[in-house]
Amino acid sequence: MKVGVPRALLYYRYGRFWEEFLTGLGAEVVFSRRTDKVLLQNGLGHVSSEVCLPIKIMAGHLEELAGQVDVIFLPRLMWLEDKLYACPKMIGIVDIARMMLASAAPVGQRDGRVRLVAPKVQGSLWLPHFRAGMELCHDPVRVVRALARARRFLPAHDRVPDFPTGEKRVALIGHFYNIEDDFISRPMVDTFTGHGYRICTKDELPGSVLRSRQGFARKIRWVYERELYNAFRFLVDKVSGVCVIVSMGCGPDSLVAEFMREEAQQRDVPFLQLVVDEHTGTAGIVTRVEAFLELAERRRARASACRLKIGGQGKAA
């Protein structure tokens, strides 16, 4: 049995876990190919033009998989601990996928429809994954064993990374499915690293930081937005600039980025908000990032000049 996992959205967090789990069930796991222009173009035809870029990309991945596999494995994340919801589109993408697969069964495969296995994650990962596993292999012992083996591939960071002084750092704040998708984030990442900056993202921070309920974060009820905001709060005074990647049409980001912008302004940290969609050109992004880095550079120079003046008692990085 071939089980397909689209290389989009939650794949970037749970991909390894799912791979191990599904292999443990005796399935052959097929990932869709890495996002590229063609794949995105294919996806555009299946969803409305107003949804955000990651959803369009997801549609492309689903389309690619539909022709190759028997089952598509696409868990539906409703909420995680503390009743923190996923965004409406992430919840709805499973329904979109179901409707897509029903209507767009590829030519020559109309009889053998692709089955969609979508465990509904509410709070805990285990029970829904167990049920999904039972759907796929009917052997409870094997499912439990596969889950136990896959467990260590769950993302877990418990160590706060080091922030040595004198290093040039920039915070890249954005959803993991945007930042880890090379198709979206390559131009920014390359420009930053090309200028000798270390990129700090939220995914290297420990869970205790990301899930903090201090301050405004307590009021954010979207699971990944709370992580973004906490990461921002944690990183903002450790970096020389904050760059936020927002996909056009992302509802939660449009709000939370606004709060971040205000806070960055108050703390006098350079702030860049990049809005990406399928029409975003590399050149435009690179120009903006370079201009932003120049600004950050000048601020740094000014700050260190100040520090020298008052006898090296500046704000510790």
Binding site: C87, M248, G251
Partner: protein, 364 residues
């Protein structure tokens, strides 16, 4: 206390009566206009959805008229509506406005009656219950008014527009329960509706050519200005607009007594297994229901980049694909051009009319 709140279409009057019942003076925001939207958009984040911009504009205009307390509804978790009030409050503070800003959280009727309202207005819970009862009656009246208006527009547009201000004045004046009942009779008389149950096809000339179901995001369903008065435009083109979502229904839903809500969930399940938040389930459920009722088409309206409604849009496309009912999805923001909108509506109404006429010819 000089209270104010963002406009809510015809239901503004119902809300006004509600707050007056609780003993506060109400200053209505000026009718929503281009200026409102521009004012709101100027102080809003770039990518936020349109209801935020309009409501902020309404509040700013109300403050100009001397309001000192602002009420704003607050939503639940999955949709951006649940976060409006944080941003609203920040925007008002950063503009240096001195006012009390009170977000009214929904979804907890008991807290609303026994804690929130008594705390704010210093009244007894009993009085709140009475005020809510009156709010229900009055919003039911505005809902009825809208139905009659839409029906009359489809056959006698000029006549309907002539009656509209008079009927609205009657509704606005009605304060006590008795007056509201009297106003109901008056409105019915004005629109020539006989009996308690509106009868369809009383005489040959009064049947509209086509009937379209209007579904979508609740603010756009209620506040006519937001959707550029789409009901009026469709009426002008000879289509009766049938709708289900209204403030009355919404309050019933909040009081756990709206059977249509359960029905929508049941009907939508084929397309959406889980609620993606907001009103997507209702939108889809109502569309399916309208199709079962034999309506000729569905018009779906929502603010640009609305998350739940974009999911609903996919479901409606699927519904259209499966059953053949024409669906027109329209998203609005402050840049939506009126001409473009009218062209699309005209083309859609034309299509629906042709389909219906063609089917009739075929049958004969």
């Amino acid at each position: 206390m000089k209270a104010s709140f963002p406009n809510l279409g015809y239901d503004t009057y119902a809300l006004k009566t509600f707050i007056e019942d609780l003993g506060a003076e109400v200053i209505l925001a000026p009718p929503t206009s281009r200026r409102t939207i521009e004012l709101g958009a100027m102080h809003s984040p770039e990518l936020i959805c349109m209801p935020y911009k309009i409501t902020l504009g309404n509040m700013l205009e109300a403050l100009e008229l001397g309001a000192d307390t602002l009420f704003m509804a607050a939503g639940a978790r999955k949709c951006r509506f649940g976060y409006y009030h944080y941003l609203h409050e920040r925007a008002l503070r950063s503009l240096g406005k001195k006012c009390r800003f009170i977000p009214i959280t929904q979804y907890s009727p008991l807290e609303f009656v026994f804690k929130m309202m008594p705390d704010i207005f210093g009244v007894s819970p009993l009085r709140v219950v009475r005020a809510v009862a009156k709010l229900l009656t009055k919003s039911r009246l505005t809902q009825e008014f809208r139905q009659y208006l839409n029906r009359k527009r489809a056959t006698d547009f000029d006549g309907a527009e002539k009656v509209k201000p008079k009927a609205l004045a009657v509704i606005e004046r009605a304060h006590t329960l008795g007056q509201i009942e009297a106003a109901r009779g008056e409105v019915r008389r004005m629109f020539g509706v006989l009996g308690t149950v509106p009868v369809r096809g009383q005489s040959p000339g009064t049947e509209p050519q086509i009937r379209l179901g209007l579904v979508g995001e609740i603010y756009f369903m209620i506040e006519q200005f937001a959707s550029q008065e789409i009901e009026k435009e469709l009426g002008k083109m000879g289509a009766e607009v049938v709708f289900e979502r209204s403030l009355y229904r919404h309050i019933r839903h909040l009081l756990f007594s709206d059977p249509a809500f359960v029905r929508s969930g049941r009907l939508a399940h084929r397309y959406l297994e889980e609620s993606p938040g907001g009103e997507a389930i209702r939108t889809v459920g109502e569309a399916v229901y309208f199709r079962q009722q034999g309506l000729d088409g569905i018009v779906h309206i929502f603010p640009f980049t609305c998350m739940p409604e974009n999911i609903a849009l996919e479901a409606l496309q699927k519904l259209s694909e499966e059953t053949g009912i024409p669906v027109l999805s329209l998203s609005f923001d402050e840049h939506t051009s009126r001409t473009g909108l009218l062209t699309r509506l005209e083309a859609f109404v034309d299509l629906v009319k042709r389909r219906k006429l063609g089917r009739r010819l075929h049958r004969n």
